[in-house]
Amino acid sequence: MTLDSSALAGLHGQDREESADAAAQSNLRLFFRTFFENKLALVGILIVLALAVFSFIGPLFYHSDQIHTNLNAVNLRPGSNGHPLGTDQVGYDQLGRLMAGGRTSLEIGIGAGLLATVLGSLWGAISGYFGGVVDAVMMRIVDALLSIPALFLLLVVAAIWTPNVLSLIVLIGLIAWLVPARLVRGEALTLRVREYVQAVRLMGGGRWRAVTRHIVPNTVGTIVVNASFQVADAILYVAYLSFLGLGLPPPSTNWGGMLTDGVQYAYDGYWWLIYPPGIAVVLVVIAFNFIGDGLRDSFDARLRRR
């Protein structure tokens, strides 16, 4: 990957301005062609779109009360009076609950994934670009944080503060940025010695400019691929936090939280409390992994052509 990206960097650095535009265009076309030829990636995008439409647009057409509990209608079987998927242990309509849970799961997953990606890419790019002592210090900090498993860190912090959607995004983002930081730093190390980055310095460009305008854009492949894995991981983290009792307080919920609530009814055979949210989590995580794999193949194909 590192080698491939420096090949990409080389193109921009050489005097091939006139062909660069055309090349960039056909590169983009090749990128999209390989991406859409990848059936799994396409399936992944369709799943994510379907789940997003279900969670965000679904409530406009399917109305259900997701704020007030109704203890007269708990654990109703699917198909009972006005509840196609039944109700849960406090009387929420399960289908509407799936939509509400999906909203938070997707919001937190995508928000935290993006935050982690931005933070990590900048940290890695700066560390790799400056090198030397700065790099050593910045990377040892990453090593140290990375050696405390994310779930343990999350539990400690979530034990201190009661989370809401925004704080969960920040919390997971602040813990998940370490992997992209390492990946981008590895690429920045090879990019910083390239002529066009050196040229920025010679022309009097600042270091910040070199990092944000030249290093980061050239690692975009790695960043984008990693971002989709980050989203998948973040959705799983929220699920685990909920399972461990440190997720969102009611009435808000997420798929992991719904699954956790259903766990206690496993012996009663209330399958509609367990399988719909469980399958939703698995589907969305698989989908983002498919997209990530597809993106990686597409970036590889674009680079291999040269």
Binding site: R140, I141, D143, A144, L145, L146, S147, I148, P149, A150, L151, F152, L153, L155, V156, V157, A158, A159, I160, A232, L236, A239, Y240, F243, L244, G245, L246, G256, L259, T260, V263, A266, Y267, I274, G278, V281, V282, L283, V285, I286, N289
Partner: protein
């Protein structure tokens, strides 16, 4: 090689020191400090002040940190006021059980994942390969407690083959005497691990199948079975074994969730209960232990790599 070794060990040492600083700062970041956590919300300001003075919490942070380090070096991991027991003695009870769970499930996972991954590579892009890849994708995306729950519903509730609860014995031998209750927790953690390892074994085997030495072996007339067993497999195992060291943090996280799912009284369950009751000394001690295990794991990987694969020699500074 020697230069690389010292530098690598020094690096690991620095990381461990940094981890202790992070853990220490986390404890000090608690709202109201540790005094509130221990004395509770009802404590008066005077009580808090007296407690802080008695524990030395009113001294400069740097001095407190050095004190903390000194106690760590003496094996003193703190005292759980909630359980009224020293953290060291708690860990002496709980850690062996977690190790039993993680080691057993890792061994099972390796025994399954290696043959499966190699078989997949040999039959690549055929039905078996696709099916196994699909299954491992699903397992990989599954929250561990969901998988554990499905295993409980199928094997404990419907088939009555195994117990839905993990062994509850206090001592290590008591746990071993209820070995059949260990099957579901071990299977859960192992299946999740298999998903990651088999994909790795598959790609490592694929890489090796394209190597010159495989062509040479085939050209000499070696049977395909022999080429696989004697030439490809040992080389494909190397990256998987080294992956093990890097897998330490995932194993501990997995064990934490598995223990919570099956109510298995290991270090993970201890940590989880501590998070719910905000028993900070336990939280910090466990986080520290897991972090050190992780650092040692990746250090061992780097060292093993050069032993297992003679082509790798760290002459140049990394």
């Amino acid at each position: 090689m020697a230069g690389y070794l010292t530098r690598r060990i020094l690096q690991a040492f620095v990381v461990v020191i940094l981890v202790t600083i992070i853990v220490f700062v986390l404890l000090r970041m608690l709202p109201g400090g540790p005094a509130r956590a221990i004395l509770g919300q009802q404590a008066t300001a005077a009580q808090v002040k007296a407690f802080n003075h008695q524990q030395g919490f009113d001294r400069p942070l740097a001095l407190q940190y050095l004190d903390y380090l000194k106690r760590l070096l003496h094996g003193d991991l703190g005292y759980s006021y909630k359980l009224n027991q020293s953290v060291t003695s708690l860990l002496a009870q709980r850690l062996p059980k977690t190790l039993l769970l993680t080691v057993l499930s890792t061994v099972v996972a390796l025994l399954v994942a290696l043959p499966v991954g190699i078989a997949q590579a040999v039959r690549r892009n055929r039905a078996t390969d696709y099916i196994i890849t699909g299954v491992s994708f699903v397992l990989y995306a599954m929250p561990i407690f969901f998988l554990g729950l499905i295993l409980i519903i199928v094997f404990a509730q419907q088939l009555h083959w195994f117990s839905p609860q993990a062994p509850q014995g206090d001592s290590f031998t008591a746990v071993l005497s209820q070995a059949n209750q260990l099957i579901l927790p071990v299977a859960t953690l192992a299946l999740i691990t298999v998903a990651a390892f088999s994909r790795y074994a598959r790609s490592a085997t694929l890489d090796n199948l394209g190597e010159d030495y495989v062509r040479t072996a085939r050209a000499k007339g070696a049977l395909e079975r022999r080429v696989l067993a004697r030439h490809v497999t040992p080389n494909a195992i190397v990256p998987v074994v080294t992956l093990l060291g890097l897998y330490v943090p995932y194993l501990f996280s997995g064990s934490l969730v598995t223990e919570a799912t099956f109510n298995y009284p290991g270090m993970g369950l201890l940590f989880w209960n501590a998070a719910q009751t905000r028993d900070y000394p336990i939280l910090l001690a466990v986080a520290l232990i897991v972090a050190i295990a992780t650092v040692v794991g990746s250090l061992v990987v780097d060292l093993l790599y050069s032993v297992l694969d003679p082509r790798v020699r760290y002459v140049v500074a990394a």
